[in-house]
Point group: C3
Chain length 330, copies 3
């Protein structure tokens, strides 16, 4: 164990036995760790999208702390936790004691004292879940449900499960991610997971203004032209154009984006035959993706949502188990 690394997110989310006790990022986790999550998630999945319930979190209290609104992700975590038999509480942050002048730290300490076992945290600031796990409530398992531009690791892992189930061996796959990579926590979590799982090639396709500066560190190939980036790709992931997260007018207009980067049936033909089409949702039809593609036979968009329940069940359970071991050690 590298004690000197204990402050990094990847170490922070592991207990002394190297098992998950929080789930903050896909970055720095080993191939074995990611594969364990995928295998465990798959164990909950039946054919045709059914989910096997298992009371692995019976008697546990999961609190959803969403500092940024998201009915969609909130609902998937609530469904996953309930299918594991947990008690689930959505904490209304806007109405909470914050408004009475209580500090974030005091609010979290109080929720912990109310016997919370797991906090599912979404926050507009990058690093907030990490801060909570390291500085505030380390004995509560923290699951990152999206923090700023940093990470959205359960989305990253459900995308990996989708790819593994429908395309198989990562080492043979070229994966192309299209859109606003620069501001996308989804893309970062996907790229880190794809690297670790051994994807043959990872491409990002974006206008210059939306390309991340650290793409060399990320180990990806950068394309400005969609047609070139799609060439022969086995998996094509279109990101949502998130106007709300951009601070300046980096995009001319939705129409122009669609003309250049919108995934149409015609452009998709540049990819490998039967290339998988994915999108983290919610989709902007006619902006980053054409309806014919979103609803077409290559689209796995709704499968992603479905697998997301299983992935969240796996992550919630694994982090709880690792956290309990840690508490036992303490």
């Amino acid at each position: 164990m590298h004690v000197s690394h204990a402050h990094t997110p990847s170490r922070l989310q592991l207990n002394p036995q190297g098992r998950l006790r929080h789930f903050l990022t896909t970055e720095g986790l080993s191939r074995e760790q990611l594969t364990e999550i995928l295998d465990f998630a798959e164990s909950f999945l039946g054919p045709d999208g059914s989910i096997h319930n298992q009371p692995l979190l019976a008697g546990r209290t999961v609190m959803n702390l969403f500092f940024e609104a998201s009915t969609r992700t909130l609902t998937t975590f609530a469904v996953a936790a309930k299918r594991l038999g947990a008690d689930v509480l959505n904490i209304d942050i806007a109405k909470s004691s914050n408004s009475k002048g209580e500090t974030l730290r005091d609010m979290l300490w109080n929720l912990e004292a109310m016997t919370a076992d797991i906090f599912v945290v979404r926050h507009p600031h990058s690093g907030a879940p990490h801060f909570i796990a390291s500085q505030v409530t380390p004995k509560v398992a923290i699951i990152n449900a999206g923090d700023g531009r940093h990470a959205h690791p359960t989305q990253g892992m459900l995308d990996m499960l989708t790819i593994r189930r429908h395309a198989g061996d990562f080492t043979k796959l070229t994966v192309a991610i299209i859109g606003d990579i620069k501001h996308s926590r989804v893309a970062r979590s996907e790229i880190h997971a794809l690297q670790t799982l051994g994807a043959k090639e990872i491409r990002i396709i974006a206008p210059r203004t939306l390309q991340p500066r650290d793409y060399q560190e990320l180990g990806v190939k950068v394309y400005e032209r969609l047609e070139e980036g799609l060439d022969g790709a086995d998996v094509v992931i279109a990101l949502r154009v998130q106007n709300e997260r951009m601070e300046s007018p980096l995009l001319a207009s939705p129409e122009e984006f669609y003309a250049l980067y919108g995934l149409t049936p015609e452009k998709l033909r540049r990819a490998a035959p039967n290339a998988l089409v994915m999108h983290p949702g919610p989709i902007n039809r006619g902006v980053e993706i054409a309806s014919e593609v979103a609803d077409g036979p290559q689209s796995l968009i709704l499968k992603q949502v479905n697998y997301g329940i299983a992935v969240r069940m796996a992550v919630l359970t694994l982090a709880m188990q690792g956290q309990l071991t840690t508490r036992g050690d303490a």
Copy 2:
């Protein structure tokens, strides 16, 4: 099976075996089908309003989709689903991805992919639950919790259960419905159910402006004067005056309505001795009903609410069972 009728709500809500798989309207269901709902609902009812819990929906996920606010109906469905052991999620439509520009169709597809089994839908537009069941998510059991002016079938059925328990044989009963029939989805669901269950006579009592145009099709007798309409009635149902649903000033004032149509002890004496008094709630005391009547010995208003839990338990379970059979066939 009349394939040519497959597009009508009454066929749409049945599976090929003729069993409920959605519950959209009381219109077009057979006497046997309505009686099955009533019998099943009654099986949950103990004396004095207690309800026998049964885990018939254990492991199922019920999502409440209320596009129109209603704490009251929302709560009854939540209680009913929980008493059946289901996981219940209230989807906050206002905060949902709708606000991110997602289409209704995409939102519903996503919720279905999150392993929803049942959508309980309230919508301001007539036909919305029908549209969802036919065009969007046919594999999710859709329960209509009130759509526009069209139908409120669980309210209709809980009223039938109330009448059957307290007045017995429908074929001997004259039922009078008072108020804004024209805009009332409750009245429509009641009238269709009463017809099918063989009520001796159905009367509607309303000012001309609030009488429905299709009363002949509905097979009801129309009265403008309350005293005449009440004469000898065995069951008297006062509707809520819903100013919020009226588009033009069809009523002079609440005071005038009360003078002409308010159900007072004096006017109630025109009905049969011990006539049952019902109201779908919430009541406007001193508008459509006097407090002495609402709280009097003939009033079944709170019994209706209580039976509503049992009726919703029955409908949720039957639709789920019919839906599962259909899924198995698919």
Copy 3:
């Protein structure tokens, strides 16, 4: 049994066998009754803040009716009820039929008819839970979660549990309560419980403007100077400065309050060695308490929150049991 006292809160909350059937106030309960609550609460507590779940309310429906916002108290009751296996519904009062002109009485009758077993009521008006229990829905067990300036009995009892676990025998203890006693429902519930449990001495420390007029009836000693009031105290309870509840500018400023009444490490030295420090939360750091004290070794602030879950589990269960006995008698 003193029938003539049946209208007082203390009698109202007991059934004919003298057992709790509501929990409205600590005032007037006997030492045996308070001790039973504490003992039962303690039975749920494991070491280190864990809680033993017990399905004592399985199949029961608990409705939280918060007419005054409080995420914190709402969450503790929801956690407690879920840990007892109850179905829990938070009724959104603001959105409820109140807005449709329904009376409070009709709303409560309707919720009762929806098979509610317990109402957890918070209300800005003193006496509202008492009114509901006596005049509206006596067959629903009413738990007071804070009413106006009157009482906050579960807070009072969790404070008693904290004192008993950490300081032992009440008859040897001097307890000092600091702050806005006049407007504090927490202080009233504490004082009544401390009296009944036989505390050696109860002191209140407050500026003249915030001293209650009835302190002689309450049987407490009043101090205007913090240093004098703290002298030799075994338990020190700092109250939250609640600007929102004060009707006039009774406090000069938070800074001035802190200078005179803020619990600092220096001032705390006037109390007994290892005196317990408590606060009902949420805390205003630097107003009524210094961070060094709130986070220091004498502070039991988070233990209070933790014990609060156990106390609420005890009170919910005891009131339900007493209510059922009453219903059986009726």
